[in-house]
Structure formats: structure tokens, C-alpha cells
Amino acid sequence: MFSAGSYDVIVVGAGHAGCEAALAAARLGVRTLLVTLDMDNIAMMPCNPAVGGPAKGHLVREIDALGGEMGINTDRTAIQMRMLNTGKGPAVHALRAQADKKMYQRIMKETLENQDNLDVKQLLVEELLVENGAVAGVIMETGEVFACRCVIIATGTYLSGRIIIGDVAFTGGPNGQRAAVKLSSSLAAHGVSIMRFKTGTPARVDRRSLDFSKMIIQPGDDEAHNFSFMSDIATREQLACWLTYTNARTHQVIRDNLHRAPLYTGKIEGTGPRYCPSIEVKIVRFEEKESHQLFVEPEGLHTNEMYVQGMSTSLPVEVQYAFLRTIPGLENVEIMRPGYAIEYDCVDPTQLKPTLEFKSIGGLFSAGQTNGTSGYEEAAAQGLLAGINAAQLVKGLPPFILGRGDAYIGVLIDDLVTKGTDEPYRIMTSRAEYRLILRQDNADLRLTGKGRELGLVSDERYRRFTAKRDAIAETLALLAASTVTPTAETQDKLRSLGSAELRSGSTLYDLLRRTELDYTMLQSHFALPDIPAAVREQVEIAVKYEGYIKKQAEQVERAAKLEAKLLPADVDYENIHGLAREARQKLAKIRPLSVGQAARISGVSPADVSILLVYLEQYKRRGQGQ
């Protein structure tokens, strides 16, 4: 064995989780190694070329506020951006970008390669070394042994990956990559429990073979958007996406070939995601639906490959041709890469602490698709948190955990480690109970301070952030202090703004509550100062949604009481008298950090929570007695 060196943290896999994990750890000053089985496929997007959308875009902004890279990297490589849900409330506005896939990879690679404290190497990890219940190092396929304090598994869909297209199946990772076949047995040998999931992707087709005149153009927004608080990109060359629909003929071709669909022949055993069904599943499950929409999306500025969103499939290639060619605009389509399904090993995330460290193996972390999630954003968010916590562990600092009231990242990780998942997990805004607080527009306000405390927020970012935060507070104070009386002049102003006259004295703050009024309108009539658009947005949201926001803030506060009641690590749940049997088993398995987390475990009733509180009090008094 060749002892090749030692690191504080080794990150296995350079996808979206691995990149964030490695950057965070290195930026927090611990010596980090990022290994990938292919240097040319760092930060690859094997599925669609999009970043963001509801809840996912929220995650990207949160990652950014904590000093992560995904937001900046997307801003720099986007070829289209749209703000979705603008007809709904600000809490669910969601930024979505199409990225140039190759450029995304190149820029991320450049960032990684130039990061202090970080080495990037092409290596395939085959074995995990564990000593005395803690990670000691990893062994590579080529014989090198690296010693380390922490390992972050971020292997995506590569663990024992298997590709299925029609009757053909072979071992492999996504997009023609190799699979990592030995690592999951090494994990299993160390007692890690493994699940088998499935996901899939549609064909990539040749732009030149498409007739866009038969599709509906989907341009980006005219206004330039950015994910990152630090990006100032004001103009951007944008490419359009295209919308078209399946029809009865498409469905007939698929129905006629269901006997060749691996999902229905039993060739695929892994559990697939419900929110990302293949076209064959959609047609079987929603038989009555006469047509399904699909988006044709560019994969980049310098390629003719187009992604056919909505048509994920593992049917044989000839059938893919047959059904695609029934679709308006795709009559002469040429496939460049066929759609495929991929089955892969992943880790049951209930084995993890909220820091993403394994409960049973010290220093071993797991992040991203390996934890049973799907999506680049979900992966990046976990990678960031795993990287932070590995660095905190190395440095002997307390763990960094976000609560459900702090961030979507908190919702995501709490769901995973508390409830687990039986399908590839996707974040959704409906999973967040405090959605009105966890907005994408205030991710910076919610998290920059925490990022700063950790040491991931630069002086420049922090300066910009405090300026914005203070301007919001000042403006709100000014509005509240600006009284208006029902004088003839005021009534004239209100009339000209199309708003009702005052019946008694009021404040500009109260006037801003009116749905028909905004800051700019008040500014023009009531001598208010000019403020940046981002400040204006926060002020308006704070005033107009005050009631709802307050309600949720109170809920968070109430829940925080139980979150603050920490459960000691050595609790023997099996022997807590009075707990229901199911609660005992679940608590012993999940080992929640707090009574709050315990209460969210399915099968733990309010009575069990009461009993835990009594037990905790008993535990505390015994401790004092000794």
C-alpha cells in the first residue's frame, strides 16, 4: 500500500454536493482533498440544464448567503433566467435559470482548482478505513491510501450504478461515466444501511432536426436576475426554450410498447421519484390526460444538444424515436443521446445526524443524492452543510445546524434525518411549514449573519449585507414615524394615487399596507428618500404581509422551545418507562437531538413527548443531585 498523504477532510465525488462540501471545508481553513473519477466531469448536470425553481431556487439563494458557490456559478453561466410564480406571493416567487452545462463545469472547476487548502485529484475510492468507530482514511482503486479525519461521501448516482435502456442494461454512472462498484460494499461492511433508488432522464436531440415553428417560444425575462447577492450581472445573452405537446399518437406508441418498458417488465427494481415520472408512467397513471407538455431546452451556447424535458424514459431507443417523432416540431428528430434509467445505491439518511455525520461512524459524512435526494440544488445544500460540519468537527467547534424556521436547508435536512425518504426526495415549498418567512428574497437577511459567524462570508459581502439590512430597518422606522393627517392636500394626493381618502390621522407605514399603494408611489407624493430596489422590496413585503409573517414567526418561536430541550446522547430509550413501544423503537433508531426533533418522528405521540419532558427533567435533577 502506498501512503499518499493525509488530509483533514476528503470529499468523495465532485458533483454539486462534493463541490460545495470541498469549497466550504477548504474555505474554513481545513486541508481538503476532493476526489473525482473524472476530472472532466466536475459539477456535471446529467439531467436537465436548469437550476432553481420553487424551493430549489430558495435553496440556491440560501447556499449563496452562506458563502456557497452554486449561485455565483449559475449567474456566470446562465443562458436564460425567469422568475416563476410572480402572480403569487413573494414567498413563492422562484428564480429559475437555464445554465450552459459545459460552462458551468468549467467555471466550477476553475474555482475549485484555485481554492486555497484544496487539492482536486482524479481517483476512485474503493474502501473506507474505520478505526475505533471513526474514519481513518480511504483506499483508492489504484492503491493509494490517504489518511484523514473526515470523509464526505458525495457519490450521487455512481454507487453501484446501473444503466437501463429498453432491453439493454449495463454497469455505469450517469452520462456514460463509470460506476463506483466497490465503495457501497465497503460502506455496508461498516454497517451502513443501503437503499436502491432509480431515476431517469430523457433523450438529448439535435437542434438542427427540430422545427421550432411548430412549438411555442419560452423566452427568458427581459429583466436580468441573479441568484447571488454578490452578482451584479445586468445584461445576459439568453437562449429560448420551446414548448410543445404530446398527442394521442404519442401515447399509442408508448402504450403499444409497454411490454418493453423496463419499469413494467421488472427490469428496474429501484424506487423512482413521483415528481419526475417517466413518460411511460405518466401515460399509465394519468390515462385520461390527452396530452402532456414538454419543454425543449438548450444545453448550452456551443452545442446543438437540446434537452427534451418531460419525456424521461427508459424505453428502447427505437421506441424513443417512434414516440418523439409523433410530436409537433419533432417529426424528424435525431437523437444524440438516448434517454435512460439509472439505478443506484444510496444511504438511508435516518442514519445521519442533522450535521450529516453518521451516528455510528465518527467523521463520516454523507451528502447529496447519496442521501436519497434528487436535484442539483438539494445536493449542493447538503454538500455545503456537510463541508461546514466536517470542518467544525476538525477544528473542535460546535456543529452547525439550521432549523426548519431558519432555512429550506433546515427543512431538507430535518426531513431526511428525522423522517427518512422512500423515494428520491425533492424539496418543495409545501414541505416548509414557515414558508412565508423562508423567502428567496430574504435568504441573505436570514443567513448572511450565520455565514459570517462561521467565517464563510467575505468582508465585502458582509459590508453590502449590513448596508441593506440597516437601510430596511431605517426605512421601516421612517415610515412608521411619518404621520399623515387628513388635510385637503393629503386627500388630493391619495385620490391621485387611486386610493381611498383618510378618515383620520395615519402613518405612511399604514398607507403602504394598502394593496393599491407601493413605496415608489408614496415616495413621489410624500417626500420619501430614494432607496435601492432590493430595500424597497423588503420594506413592502414586511409591511404588506406583516400579519402573516408575524403569525409564522410566533409559530417558529413556540416550536423553538422544544428545539431547545436537548436530549442527551446516551439516553436509553428502550428503558424509558411509559413510552409507547413504537416510540421507543423509533427514538432509539433516529436518536433525535432535541425534544422538538423527537416530536416530528412519525409514531412519537404527544403523550410520548410529555413523557420525554418528564424524563429529561428527571435526568437533569439526577445530574444535579450527583
Binding site: 402572480g87 413521483r274 411509559g578 403523550a607 413523557i611 427533567e617 435533577r621
Partner: protein, 461 residues
């Protein structure tokens, strides 16, 4: 100090006559009690000294009506059972004043205590010492189990079916709004605000109707939960008819149900007796044989009083004996029916199997022995052997309270729509209403909304 919200519960066993106590604990205990109490001396509760009882009346603040004459006892923190401020309202022990006063206390923003919660608070606040911790846990466990049993047992099929149906309607609405929020680029028809508004209006009206019936006690009526068990053709229906016919029982038919679920209330010596799931017994004609001993066991668990019917004209069967075993530790009366036919049954054997439980010989068909049975029931109740379970009683108040809260959330969501607020704000109260109703049916919050989204809509890229 373990500081939390204010809770209330009925602290006494519920029975006819005597004194009933409503106990309130927490920071708002004295102000809330004070807001309902009119002291004869006109002194406000806030100045009432600890451990001194004041005489006066409880007045409904909404209409100024006097509900009952009571004694108000105030115990200020930390010199109380829970070490919090405690107020106790001592009223007449009948179900009506207890229920109305508890209802008023809850309407004033006090939360109904969880089972064992006073004891839990006493412990967490250091009122009980460490050696009592196990006992505290036992109280919580036992009361929870009892109340769960009752919660399930006292839900009439029709009532819970209705609540479930409304809940499902809310869920569909929420799932639709959520799907459009989370999948804006999927093919999901946006719900127009007027559709949301009319759906919320309709649900409000539905809940109002349900509340009305709850208030008149037609659906949520407390009674001594009584189950009649026995072999097929042993005469269960005849016994029921005998009880009903003689006592001009109140037969409650719950309107609008597809299944013909009938709850029978028999008034025996002033005690309302609720015979459970009679329709079930009638339909299947046999609990023991066709549904088996397991079902009988279930029925027994939920009952306050068990009437076991045996056939005097046949020898004891294996099932009979098994069911008799189940009666151990429960309040039961054994009825040997069909005494009009030649006797075959071995009475000594019966006595051996049922311990000291009363055994009465009857003929349900001829109506003989029924009077004796009624006497036995009355005696058991008044001697305290059987008490109407607190569960039924509290559930009644609890259900009304939850229905009202759910209705208020729906009204709030309606107001949100009217104010032109976006769907993500509307959903907040819809979800709250849905969660509230789940407290009645015991359905826990889980992945339901997300499951519903994927059931209702074809989503996916």
C-alpha cells in the same frame, strides 16, 4: 420554571348531581376565570385572596346569561398543585353546567389540557419530587390510553365520516393550490380566487351545520357507553328492543349518512345509556362468531359497561367462555336469556367464569327480568362501580371547540382571498383548518398533502 400557555380540564369524575370542578392552570387562569365570574360580593377575581372561595355566578360574556352558581377558588403560583396560577370553578356536577363552563373557558383562549398535563406541569415545575417521576409518567400514559380509547369509541361513525369528508375536501383544495405553487411550469389549471372563496364558504357552512348539531347534542352526546355482546340469535336485538320499548328511548338517527348507523340512547333511571354500534350488531347479527372474539375484545375495551348475553337453552360454547374471560376487570352484567325455553345452561359454570359479576336471568322476548337489569345498572352507577367516562364528556367539549377553530380558520382563509392576498397566504389557514380537523379523527399530519398533489396531478419533467 416551566412556563407555558394556560390549560383547563374538568377535574372531577362526571356524574349526575354533586359538585363538578373545572381547573384552570397557567398565567391566564385568574383573568380568564375572572372574566366569566360575577362574585356576589362584586369583588373582582384579581383581588381574591389565595385559598379563599368566593361565591357567585358564571355568566356567558356573549349574552350575559347566567350559566350556574359556583364557588371560585384561586391559588396563586407557586402555592398550587402545578406551581402556576390556578383557578378552580366549583359548579353543579351535571354534564350541562360542566360542559358549558368548560366551553366558555376554552372560548376565552385557554387550551384543553392534555391527559395528565396538570401532573406533568407539577413535576416539571418542581412541585413533585424525583421519586414521583415514574408515577407522573404512569398518569400521563394511563390517561392518554384511556382518552385515546374514548376518543375512538365516542366518535360516531357518521360524525367521523363527515369530519373526514370535510377534511378531504380541504386537502384537495390545499393540494391544488400547492401543486400550482410548487409546479408552476406544469400543466396545472390555476384555481381562480372565486373558486377558492366559494369552496371555503361552503366548508364554513358545512362546519356551522355540524356545530349546530353538536350544540344540540344530537351527534356528540355523552352517555354510558354500553355494548351488548353475545352469540348469534342469543337475543341481542330483542334485548335492545325491550330496553327501548319499555323506556320510550330516544332514538337518534343521524341524518345524511349513507350507512345506516344508529345510536340508541336509553334513559334508565335518569342515566343516559348509549348502546354502541347497534346497526352493526343488527346487520351482522353476531359479534362473537362472525367477526370473532377479536372484535368482541375491541368492543369490550371501548365500553363503560358490558352486557353479556348467554343462551339459557344451550350449553356454554367455547366462544362464550373466551368472551367471559375478557370480562375480567371490566364492569359487566351477565344476562342469561331465553329463560322462557327449557334450561340447558349450567349456571354454576357461568358463575365460575364470571367471578362476582351480577348474573340476571331474563327473557328479552317476554320482557321478564328487564326491570331487574335496569335496577342493576342504576345500582352500579350510583354505587360508583361504573362511571360515565370523562372521555366522552370531554370529547364533546373538545370536538365543538376544534370544529369552531377549524371553522374560524376557514373564515380567515376566506378573508385572505377577499383581501386579494396570494394563494400562499390563503393556504396558511386552509392547512390549519385541515390540521385541526385531524385532531378529531386522530389522523396525524404527514406526507398527506404531498401524496395528494401527486395523486391529483400529473407532474414531472
Amino acid at each position: 420554571m416551566f412556563q407555558e400557555d394556560t390549560i383547563a380540564a374538568i377535574a372531577t369524575a362526571v356524574g349526575e348531581g354533586g359538585i363538578g370542578i373545572i381547573r384552570i392552570s397557567g398565567p391566564a387562569a385568574v383573568p380568564v376565570a375572572g372574566s366569566l365570574f360575577r362574585a356576589a360580593s362584586a369583588a373582582p377575581a384579581s383581588t381574591q385572596p389565595s385559598y379563599r372561595a368566593a361565591y357567585g355566578t358564571i355568566v356567558d360574556p356573549e349574552n350575559g346569561q347566567t350559566v350556574d352558581e359556583v364557588l371560585l377558588l384561586v391559588m396563586r403560583a407557586p402555592r398550587s398543585y402545578t406551581r402556576e396560577d390556578v383557578a378552580e370553578i366549583h359548579c353543579h356536577g351535571g354534564p350541562l353546567p360542566l360542559r358549558r363552563i368548560l366551553g366558555l373557558v376554552l372560548a376565552a383562549g385557554v387550551r384543553l389540557a392534555e391527559p395528565g398535563e396538570f401532573t406533568k406541569r407539577a413535576f416539571l415545575n418542581g412541585r413533585l419530587d424525583l421519586s414521583q417521576a415514574e408515577a407522573v409518567i404512569d398518569v400521563i400514559r394511563a390517561k392518554t390510553d384511556a382518552s385515546l380509547r374514548m376518543a375512538v369509541g365516542h366518535l360516531s361513525g357518521a360524525f367521523s365520516a363527515k369530519v373526514r369528508a370535510y377534511r378531504h375536501e380541504i386537502l384537495r383544495l390545499v393540494a391544488h393550490l400547492e401543486a400550482a405553487i410548487d409546479f408552476p411550469e406544469d400543466d396545472i389549471e390555476e384555481l381562480a380566487s372565486r373558486d377558492v372563496a366559494s369552496a371555503a364558504d361552503k366548508l364554513c357552512a358545512d362546519l356551522d351545520r355540524l356545530l349546530d348539531t353538536a350544540q344540540t347534542g344530537r351527534i356528540l352526546r355523552e352517555g354510558l357507553e354500553t355494548v351488548i355482546i353475545g352469540k348469534p340469535n342469543v337475543g341481542k336485538s330483542s334485548l335492545l328492543n325491550a330496553l327501548l320499548g319499555e323506556k320510550r328511548a330516544i332514538v337518534t338517527e343521524i341524518p345524511g349518512t349513507t350507512r345506516d348507523i344508529i345510536e340508541e340512547f336509553v334513559n334508565i333511571g335518569g342515566i343516559p345509556i348509549k348502546v354502541v354500534d347497534t346497526a352493526g350488531i343488527r346487520e351482522t347479527a353476531d359479534v362473537v362468531e362472525r367477526i370473532g372474539v377479536a372484535r368482541a375484545r375491541e368492543a369490550i375495551i371501548q365500553a363503560d359497561l358490558i352486557l353479556l348475553l348467554l343462551d339459557a337453552s344451550a350449553p356454554l360454547s367455547v366462544e362464550d367462555k373466551e368472551v367471559m374471560e375478557l370480562l375480567s376487570g371490566r364492569q359487566a352484567i351477565v344476562l342469561v336469556n331465553k329463560t322462557d325455553l327449557p334450561a340447558v345452561i349450567d349456571m354454576d359454570d357461568v358463575h365460575r367464569h364470571v367471578g362476582g359479576k351480577p348474573v340476571i336471568r331474563i327473557s328479552a322476548l317476554e320482557g321478564t327480568g328487564v326491570e331487574e337489569l335496569e335496577k342493576a345498572i342504576v345500582e352500579m352507577v350510583y354505587s360508583g362501580q361504573v362511571s360515565r367516562s370523562e372521555g366522552a364528556f370531554v370529547n364533546n367539549v373538545r370536538h365543538s371547540r376544534i370544529l369552531r377553530q377549524a371553522r374560524d380558520h376557514l373564515a380567515e382563509s376566506r378573508a385572505t382571498v377577499a383581501a386579494g392576498m396570494p394563494p400562499d397566504c390563503v393556504v396558511v389557514d386552509l392547512k390549519a383548518a385541515w390540521e385541526k380537523l385531524g385532531e378529531i379523527t386522530g389522523d396525524t399530519v404527514g406526507e398527506d398533502i404531498i401524496d395528494q398533489i401527486f395523486t391529483q396531478f400529473c407532474i414531472g419533467k
